[in-house]
């Protein structure tokens, strides 16, 4: 109760930055997926903390939607990583370079 809203925002920003760092540095597609999950959960922390702060439930309900969508995104992502592995025998995101950047 006594914890200020700013600490929640700091926590979520920290989590978001860890996720972003992972996205930028990891070459394994699965690690990339996990880093994106961290970023999405950082948003969830914000939504729930602010829902408590503002005293309405909108944010909490939206956090439920975000979790469901994150799960759907992982399902599609794992499917793509699976065909990636079948075609390239690797899940390193820097390996597929049939097209130049």
């Amino acid at each position: 109760m006594s914890i200020g809203i700013e600490y929640y925002v700091l926590l979520s920003m920290g989590l978001f930055c860890i996720g972003l760092f992972g996205v930028l540095t990891r070459r394994n597609a699965l690690m990339f997926l996990m880093s994106v999950e961290l970023m999405l959960n950082a948003a969830n922390i914000n939504l729930i903390a602010f829902a408590f702060y503002h005293g309405n439930l909108t944010g909490q309900v939206f956090a439920l939607f975000t979790m469901a969508l994150a799960a759907a995104e992982v399902a599609v992502g794992l499917g793509i990583i699976l065909v990636l592995y079948r075609n390239f025998r690797d899940v390193d995101v820097t390996v597929p370079t049939t097209m130049r950047w």
Binding site: N56, T58, F62, I80, I81, R86, F88, V93, P96, M99
Partner: protein, 511 residues
């Protein structure tokens, strides 16, 4: 009129019809999973898209969404204002339905040997449902859900040629950047929610105008910046444009056409709605210290320039079209850059016109590439040399698309660009930087003429470098290309109603 008696949710019919069509395709697939009955599947998908188009056009003319002062039925809000059907929503539902219909008809021939027919069409229709809903979404929640509904099938569609390395690589890159940008987008939503306590666009605007967010201006500003990142991904503009060349090049050509036309239009409609409804320019500026139009002015100039300069250096036709599609996102961004505190409906209407014309000409151009892929002539400009001797009709259509994309006078693309230019000049009375945008538009259009006419020259003037066998004439692809070409041309005499509809819709949302 019958519309009066219908319950409010039926106003969403264009999107609902697409959703039902997608489910019907799933039923077909579960009854006979290995069916390759292409006529039935493509016919159902195209039929659903056409019915959705017809209903959206009917609603527009019946006055659904038109403000009551203009003799219409007023905008219809559904689920407590989470979704809203107004002129803007119907206009973009029409654009999405047109592109979907063209794509499904063309896919009939493109996917001739493909194993997963029903999956392909149901994914296309579900993505179209998401885009149609994006047009009507009026709260950050529904915007995010509709955006994901459009994105998730698109990832799978890009990678649908499972044994083709290019397609899988394109799918991977599209997915990685898409997942990253949607994480940034949802974090932006959470910050805007934190600053205002609401997710519905009108309520956000009310809180901002009421001055209740003092002290949270920085949070709000960061949130808005992150939202722009999400829109930039969906519309393939700088700084999230990296996926576009790879995804468009590796994906099956009809999917590239779908993503670059319908998906881009849907991305713009949410950007238009969010920034005109939720963040009133004057009050938001007072809170965050900067006008958000400045971000769009910079993005518009950079996106146009990056897209067109990169397109000019390409050898691969599909990749050239992909970069040109980034350039066109830059043109449409002028619609947001030119907004002012008390006006700007003209420039936004021009951007909407451009997105409609673009829906025809760009879809057509990508479908011609699809035709060339089916002929297996190769991918570079040289491979296209002298195609006109063997397929004059398709090449004439392609010339129409390319000249229209470049903005040559007799075609639709000229008019929308001309309106954008006029709008930018008009807005420069308030923001001098808009003069730079107008100049960038002219310079980039001139540059784009160079690489578009290079392709026309290859098709019509160069001699074939190799002798080819007789080229097939697949009915569906030809039909879609010719319809797109005819519409690109006749939209000129028919431009009056389009201009009126777009301007009315823009006025309703800006005013």
């Amino acid at each position: 009129m019958a519309v009066f008696e219908l319950p409010g949710w039926t106003a969403l019919a264009p999107a609902l019809i697409l959703a039902v069509t997608g489910l019907v395709l799933f039923v077909f697939d579960s009854i006979s999973p290995n069916s390759t009955n292409r006529s039935l599947l493509a016919g159902t998908a195209a039929g659903g898209a056409l019915v959705s188009l017809a209903v959206a056009v009917w609603f527009t003319f019946a006055g659904v969404g038109t403000p009551t002062v203009d003799g219409g039925l007023g905008e219809i809000s559904i689920l407590g204002g989470q979704l809203v059907v107004d002129q803007l929503a119907l206009y973009f539902m029409i654009v999405v339905a047109i592109v979907t219909a063209l794509i499904t008809v063309a896919s009939y021939d493109y996917l001739v040997d493909h194993t997963y027919q029903a999956e392909y069409y149901s994914l296309i229709i579900l993505a179209a449902t998401g885009m149609s809903l994006m047009a009507a979404a009026n709260s950050l929640v529904t915007i995010f859900i509709a955006l994901e509904l459009a994105s998730l099938p698109s990832y799978a569609l890009v990678a649908i040629l499972k044994d083709n390395r290019g397609s899988v690589e394109a799918g991977l890159k599209y997915f990685l950047i898409g997942a990253l940008s949607s994480a940034i987008f949802v974090y932006g939503i959470s910050l805007v929610y934190g600053a205002t306590g609401h997710l519905q666009l009108e309520n956000i605007a009310a809180v901002i105008s009421g001055g209740d967010v003092d002290g949270y201006g920085g949070l709000l500003g960061l949130g808005i910046l992150m939202l722009i990142g999400g829109f930039a991904f969906k519309t393939a503009s700088v700084p999230f444009h990296f996926w576009a060349p790879e995804a468009y090049e590796g994906a099956p050509a009809p999917v590239s056409a779908f993503l670059s036309s319908a998906s881009k239009a849907a991305g713009f409609v949410i950007a238009f709605r969010v920034f005109t409804t939720a963040f009133p320019l004057g009050e938001t500026t007072a809170l965050i210290g900067v006008e958000w139009t400045h971000a769009f002015i910079i993005l518009a100039i950079v996106t146009m320039t990056v897209g067109n300069f990169a397109a000019a250096t390409q050898d691969n036709v599909k990749r050239m079209l992909a970069y040109s599609s980034i350039g066109h996102a830059g043109y449409a961004l002028i619609g947001l850059a030119g907004l002012t505190a008390d006006g700007g409906e003209f420039v936004m209407g021009a951007a909407m016109m451009h997105l409609l014309v673009y829906g025809f000409m760009n879809t057509g151009a990508f479908l011609f590439v699809g035709l060339a892929e089916r002929w297996e002539v190769g991918r570079t400009f040289e491979d296209y040399n002298g195609l006109s001797t063997q397929a004059p009709v398709a090449c004439a259509a392609m010339a129409v698309f390319l000249f229209s994309l470049a903005g040559i006078p007799p075609f639709g693309g000229f008019f929308s660009k001309f309106f954008l230019f006029m709008g930018a000049i008009e807005a420069s009375a308030e923001t001098t930087a808009m003069l730079a945008v107008a100049a960038a538009l002219v310079v980039n259009s001139a540059l784009s003429l160079y690489y578009y006419s290079r392709l026309v020259k290859a098709l019509w003037i160069e001699e074939p470098s190799t002798t080819r066998d007789r080229l097939a004439q697949p009915t569906g692809l030809y039909a879609a290309i010719i319809v797109a070409a005819v519409m690109t041309v006749v939209i000129l005499p028919g431009f009056g109603p389009v201009v009126d509809t777009a301007l009315e819709a823009a006025t309703a949302i800006v005013g």
